[in-house]
């Protein structure tokens, strides 16, 4: 498909989309506030945020379905803020499986090309190629309602890809699929995006999905950008407590801590020498953040801290168990592999290595992180 646009862009130069000071206010609700972002076609751009954080509002503005209240959008240096959606080169995939209900899969995939006025033979070639890429080439005669959810979404994705638009938007495309299909399609999408020359923007609520897709990430919360950058770098250095919260599932655990003369105190009875990454900390009050996957029920090393805790709740999530515990001075969620059972109210010990602590000041900004930018192997 690259030949369609080959005359317009040289493959070496990535396409860029620039958002400057974007605000979106509907009535009295602020949906987006002062968004400044740059998306590139060289890597997938993941927007991670919770439900109602403004992800969809952002996509609607990117697509041109809504006009921002303030600010400008530039694609390859050209201002497109006021250009209507029909005149833009955009394709979009939604949470729901959106296809033309009375048209066959073939006609569905062909529809954007027909509107664009392609010749019949060319349409046929593109449709079959794209269908093959998404493994729906044997379903072309069927109707959308005759397919499974996964196949319907594959059709919608094929329709978006075949258009070969400058901008490809995916709004939580896998959220309505079951676990297995989601994994399968995610792997395929990664490969497809790699070959695709468009600017790809992909929204999700799941940190694990963002990590698997890699590329660049934007963390968004209540209409504001919290942090953006290469996904792995952001994961290992969440610049604010909020960022760490959004980019951890279950959300990151907080422990209030006091640092004084080379040692740190948690609560009443835990005191330990500062690990290397915190060695330059000044004395004062801090908040330590630790991901659930770094908490253990068994000792893993010499320097591990031992925390006494009471089990409040134990929930099984897929093949993992989340144990909610109360230490008195903090509440935490321990993530354990496998299905475990913990009696509610039981006294247990939780182990954590101080080398895993993210350190935030009282304003919630990152002061020290375990990696300090060094990429570590990812958990789980």
């Amino acid at each position: 498909m690259s030949e369609i646009r080959s005359d317009k862009h040289t493959p070496e130069k990535p396409e860029t989309l620039l958002l400057r000071n974007i605000d979106k206010v509907v009535g009295r609700d602020v949906h987006l506030e002062n968004i400044n972002l740059e998306f590139e076609s060289s890597a997938i751009n993941v927007v991670l945020g919770r439900t109602l954080s403004g992800k969809t509002s952002l996509l609607r503005i990117l697509a041109g379905l809504d006009r921002p209240t303030r600010g400008t959008i530039e694609i390859n240096g050209k201002d497109v803020t006021g250009v209507s959606v029909r005149k833009r080169s955009v394709a979009m995939v939604y949470q729901q499986f959106i296809n033309y209900p009375s048209l066959s899969i073939y006609e569905n995939i062909a529809s954007p090309l027909k509107i664009a006025g392609f010749k019949k033979a060319e349409i046929d070639r593109h449709v079959r190629k794209t269908a093959e890429m998404l493994h729906i080439d044997d379903l072309l005669d069927r109707l959308p309602t005759e397919l499974s959810g996964g196949q319907q979404q594959r059709t919608a994705i094929a329709r978006a890809l075949v258009k070969d638009a400058e901008l490809l938007l995916l709004d939580e495309p896998l959220v309505n699929l079951d676990y297995k299909l989601r994994e399968e399609l995610r792997l395929e999408l990664q490969e497809i995006f790699r070959q695709h020359k468009s600017i790809v923007v992909y929204t999700t609520t799941e940190p694990s999905e963002a990590l698997m897709l890699e590329g660049n990430i934007v963390l968004i919360d209540q209409g504001c950008v919290i942090q953006s950058g290469p996904t792995r770098k952001v994961y290992h250095n969440p610049a604010a407590l909020k960022a760490a919260e959004i980019f951890s599932d279950p959300p990151i655990n907080y422990i209030d801590a006091t640092v004084q003369a080379g040692t740190a105190c948690l609560g009443q009875d835990i005191e330990f020498p500062l690990p290397p990454h915190m060695s330059s900390l000044l004395s004062g009050e801090y908040i330590f953040g630790v991901r659930s996957s770094h908490l253990f029920l068994l000792r893993t090393g010499e320097s591990d801290l031992e925390m006494h805790a009471k089990v409040e709740l134990s929930e099984i999530n897929g093949s993992e168990t989340f144990i909610h515990v109360d230490c008195g001075y903090c509440q935490m969620v321990v993530q354990e592999d496998g299905v475990r059972s913990a009696r509610i109210g039981a006294e247990i010990k939780v182990y954590v290595s101080p080398s895993c602590f993210f350190v935030y000041n009282k304003e919630g900004n990152l002061v020290a992180s375990p990696s300090n930018g060094v990429v570590q192997p990812m958990p789980g």
């Binding site: 729901q96 009375s102 066959s104 529809s111």
Partner: protein
């Protein structure tokens, strides 16, 4: 065979059987009983077999009434279905206009059938009716008691005024059920307003429009009160539809046997047509090559 373990479940269905038996099966069997006998009076009856059916099927006046009926139902559907969809498309989607238009549309549906007949009877009278006198004062002779065409026009007006709102309400419900993202997707695809209607709205309304079509067909095919109130089937026999003819036969002439045979044939025609409509609508527009 686990399914059959709980035999008590049948008791839950019994009330429905009882109600259907009393409301439909028993009256129908009475009619079947009448249709094969010649009845002179209480206790005086002769079994005549299929004779009434043969006679009825050969009745020229019944044939005329049947064609009249088809023409009427056909015209009603041709006008009401597109008009109803157009009204639904033009209705507001949010704000106070929604409740206003819904209530306004529902008004004709709340009026009893014979009252509708009376309203339009007076409304279109050439001497005192607003509509009739205005038309006549413009130099166009309009009198539904004298001209078959005028009687038909009046009936169509009545029918369209009374029942198009039902189609519009059903179509509106169908339209409101289409998720907003479909329209977004159409916009992003660059689809025109017509393409959006043709490939999103119309297919998504298939279900409700099927119901609207079946309801409107059955109702218009069984029309009785309006022509009865307006002209009693006249002028001449021009508005004598099947049900009017049936009532003349059964109540007017007290020919119970032929009337019963007629009823059964009438019932079978409606049943067969509804089946055909349903089958066609289930398949129309599926897998089409656009």
């Amino acid at each position: 065979m686990e399914k059959w373990d709980n035999n008590k479940a049948w008791f839950l269905v019994l009330p429905v059987f009882a109600i259907v038996a009393f409301s439909a099966v028993i009256p129908l069997m009475t009619v079947v009983n009448y249709s094969v006998q010649d009845i002179f009076g209480p206790g005086q009856r002769v079994f005549v077999g299929a004779e009434w059916f043969k006679a009825t099927l050969a009745d020229r006046r019944l044939h005329e009434a049947l064609w009249r009926q088809f023409l009427f139902s056909g015209l009603v559907l041709l006008i009401e279905m597109p008009l109803g969809v157009m009204i639904a498309l033009a209705m507001p989607k949010r704000g106070w206009g929604v409740s206003f238009s819904l209530v306004t549309l529902a008004l004709p549906l709340l009026i009893p059938w014979n009252v509708i007949g009376t309203i339009w009877l007076i409304f279109t009278r050439p001497d005192i009716g607003l509509f009739g006198s205005i038309i006549n004062s413009m130099g166009i002779a309009f009198d539904h008691t004298a001209s078959p065409l005028d009687a038909w026009i009046t009936l169509m007006l009545m029918e369209v005024w009374h029942w198009t709102p039902l189609v519009a309400l059903l179509a509106y419900a169908g339209l409101r059920a289409i998720p907003e993202v479909y329209y977004q997707a159409a916009k992003i695809d660059g689809a025109s307003a017509w393409a959006t209607f043709r490939y999103i709205q119309l297919p998504k309304m298939r279900g409700v429009l099927t119901i609207a079509l079946l309801l409107r067909f059955m109702d218009s095919f069984l029309i009785y009160a309006e022509p009865f109130v307006l002209t009693g089937g006249g002028p001449g026999n021009s508005t004598t539809f099947l049900s009017i003819y049936l009532v003349k036969l059964a109540v007017g002439q007290f020919d119970l046997g032929p009337a019963a045979a007629f009823s059964i044939i009438y019932f079978l025609i409606v049943l067969a047509l509804c089946f055909v409509f349903y089958q066609v609508l289930q398949n129309v527009g599926r897998g089409e090559k656009a």
